[in-house]
């Protein structure tokens, strides 16, 4: 059963990986330049290699694919819309590489966390927008501050890691 489930899940991940890779390449090529083309080729080569070398599926190697995507030359010329689209696709790319996508049957479990995430994001962005009104602080810098606030929130949550749960069950003899 585990092998079958693994095979099914691997198919979804493979599809997601291929789609996100293509999306990243397309975004790169819409800002066509020699550097972006090279970046797109390197990314494509990494993804193709991961199909032939299973070791690249391990997180410590797969993370390099994410880093390669983040080092795309379009970083130097992307506007806000392009940056948001690219990063959203990168998040899906990361999921396909390392972190399994949630099962559709359990998506309901993820609703409340998503709402909480949106609330926290709204608070962080509001702070960023407020900062952007100040003289001497650019919009990009204000957005970076919002990102830093979110990061601090994540670190605070990681510090409050829960101990292993202990459950007492009745044992039938």
């Amino acid at each position: 059963m585990t092998a079958q489930k693994g095979a099914t899940h691997l198919g979804v991940r493979t599809i997601l990986l291929v789609c996100t890779t293509l999306a990243l390449i397309i975004i790169d090529l819409t800002h066509f330049a020699l550097a972006t083309a090279v970046g797109a080729i390197i990314l494509a080569a990494f993804v193709v290699a991961s199909f032939y070398f299973p070791r690249l599926h391990e997180p410590k190697f797969a993370i390099y694919g994410f880093i390669i995507a983040q080092l795309s030359p379009i970083s130097l010329q992307a506007n806000l819309v392009t940056a948001v689209a690219y990063q959203v696709v990168c998040a899906l790319f990361l999921t396909a590489l390392i972190v399994p996508f949630p099962r559709f049957s359990t998506l309901g479990t993820y609703t409340k966390p998503a709402l909480i995430t949106i609330l926290i994001m709204a608070a962080a962005l509001a702070l960023g927008v407020a900062l952007a009104q100040l003289d001497g602080v650019s919009d990009v810098q204000a957005a970076s501050v919002s990102g830093a606030v979110l990061l601090v929130t994540v670190l605070a949550l990681l510090r409050t890691t829960r101990d292993d749960t202990r459950v007492t069950i009745a044992q039938e003899v």
Binding site: T106, V140, Q141, G147, L150
Partner: protein, 494 residues
């Protein structure tokens, strides 16, 4: 819940991207920092939500709870969940047991309300109760992991492994005990075909002594033997059984205990004595534990408990007990204990050199030699099976507890007596059921001399007297039936 190293790496990347964005004024990296941080936040909260919604149902079935050494135990675990979940399930194998078939760990991918069955087999290295009390389920979503520890509660027995029942009112099958509420014919029924109560019905009489209660006179035996005989053994067992809220039985299972006719060996007698205590403990609701040892070490180790499955485990262990093969090993006789030597050495150390002459120096040299050997004795003491059996019991003793030791006092007597002294110093009431049956092994020996029997009995009596000198220790001499047979046959009782 713990974060994986990858998570911390992504946190660092997010910080770097946010920094690059601020420094280089690039939207790309500023947004990268925000999106990555949001992603980590969402996955963290989502994982917590999954853990909170998880409800695993674990049912474990073990086909035996008490086995012989090397015995095989088959375990079947069924796991199901109300929500789909993937994770690593693991049963914690207890100490003294080895996995021989199947696996106790498995990566499971559970569908909602669908059962997964895990089967594995264990082999016991030491003979004791086998119970799987701990298991764990680890979830991992790539960024975070969480382990849920499952512990079995106090046993909820729906169907006891043996049809052990405790009935009140009927007289125990162990003889004319007659105590109210005595039990338990079903417990007796678990015994194999040892010769029924070998020795028990005969070994409780002895010649009348001044001071014995008239109520304890065995009139039939007295008439036959033409002298007053007192029922002592069972009465003393009564006292021992009533002594505490917890009875720890220690039985010598060494090769020497196999002497005697089949079904009426010393070990059979010891088992029947133990049966008496188990029955009494069940009637009183006391805890009863069992430790057995032979020449090579502790064989059975069951802590004192009063629950029904535990008692049935004790009965089964008694039922399956066999005398071990006698080991022949060199024994060092030491009549001087380590503490004696230390006292003498300290005395010499306090003696000024000017007062020492050649005799004293030579004696000091001898004592030093004994001191060196006594250290070896102390080391050997701690490794001696009898001593270890007693210390094992002492470690777990709590409350008013009684130690009942059944042995022929022939193997490892020094460690045994040291252990008994230790137990009495710890406040335990110690009852030693001392067996003597030297007559068996030599009845077919062409060189058999009656004088050898008397000499052996004298040695036995010396050991008994030594034990009787220890406070809180009572020695109950229980001659096995065969030792009394000649005189009882003459009196036409046996």
């Amino acid at each position: 819940m713990r974060a994986q190293p990858l998570t911390y790496l992504l946190v660092v990347l997010s910080a770097l991207f946010a920094g690059f964005g601020a420094l280089l004024d690039l939207w790309f990296y500023a947004v990268a920092g925000i999106v990555l941080a949001l992603y980590l936040l969402w996955r963290f909260l989502a994982f917590q939500s999954v853990i909170a919604s998880l409800q695993l149902l674990i049912r474990r079935n073990i086909d035996k709870t008490v086995v012989r050494r090397g015995g095989r135990v088959n375990v079947e675990v069924s796991i199901s969940s109300r929500v789909p979940v993937k994770g690593l399930f693991s049963d914690t194998i207890p100490v003294g047991v080895e996995l021989v078939d199947g696996t106790n760990r498995a990566q499971l991918s559970l569908r909602a309300d669908e059962k997964v069955v895990l089967r594995y087999a264990l082999v016991t290295i030491s003979r004791e109760t086998v119970s799987i009390e701990h298991s764990s389920f680890t979830l991992n979503n790539g960024l975070f992991s969480h382990t849920i520890q499952y512990t079995a509660a106090a046993r909820e027995v729906k169907q006891p492994p043996y049809a052990v029942s405790v009935e009140g009112g009927a007289g125990g099958a162990g003889g004319a005990r007659g105590a109210p509420g005595a039990t338990s014919t079903s417990v007796q029924a678990l015994y194999r075909q040892r010769r029924a109560h070998a020795g028990m019905e005969l070994a409780y009489i002895r010649p009348f002594e001044v001071g014995d209660s008239l109520k304890r006179i065995h009139w039939k035996a007295s008439a036959k033997l033409n002298k007053l005989m007192t029922k002592e053994f069972l009465a003393d067992l009564d006292d021992a059984a009533d002594a505490g809220a917890s009875v720890s039985l220690i039985i010598d299972q060494g090769g020497m205990m196999g002497r005697g006719p089949a079904g009426a060996t010393e070990l059979d007698f010891a088992v029947n004595v133990a049966d008496y205590f188990v029955t009494s403990a069940v009637a009183r609701g006391s805890r009863v534990g069992l430790v057995t040892y032979d020449d090579s070490g502790v064989r059975t180790n069951l802590a004192a408990d009063a629950s029904l499955p535990h008692v049935s485990g004790v009965v089964r262990a008694l039922n399956e007990m066999e005398p071990a093969t006698p080991l022949r090993r060199p024994r060092t006789k030491m009549d001087v204990t380590g503490s004696d030597v230390l006292h003498v050495k300290q005395h010499f150390a306090a003696t000024p050199e000017a007062d020492a002459n050649d005799d004293i120096r030579r004696f000091r040299h001898i004592i030093s030699y004994l001191y060196a050997h006594s250290e070896g004795y102390v080391r050997n003491l701690h490794g001696a099976p009898a001593f270890r059996a007693i210390t094992t019991t002492l470690k777990r003793a709590r409350g008013r507890s009684t130690l009942v030791l059944v042995s022929d006092l022939e193997s490892d007597f020094s460690p045994l007596s040291e252990g008994i002294r230790l137990a009495s110093r710890r406040g335990m009431r110690v009852y030693v059921i001392a067996l003597f049956s030297k007559v068996f092994e030599e009845s077919d020996d062409p060189l058999f001399e009656v004088e050898d029997v008397y000499a052996a009995y004298e040695a036995h009596r010396r050991r008994v007297r030594k034990l009787e000198g220890t406070p809180n220790v009572k020695v109950i001499e229980a001659n096995a039936a065969e030792a009394l047979r000649p005189s009882l046959q003459e009196a036409r009782i046996a």
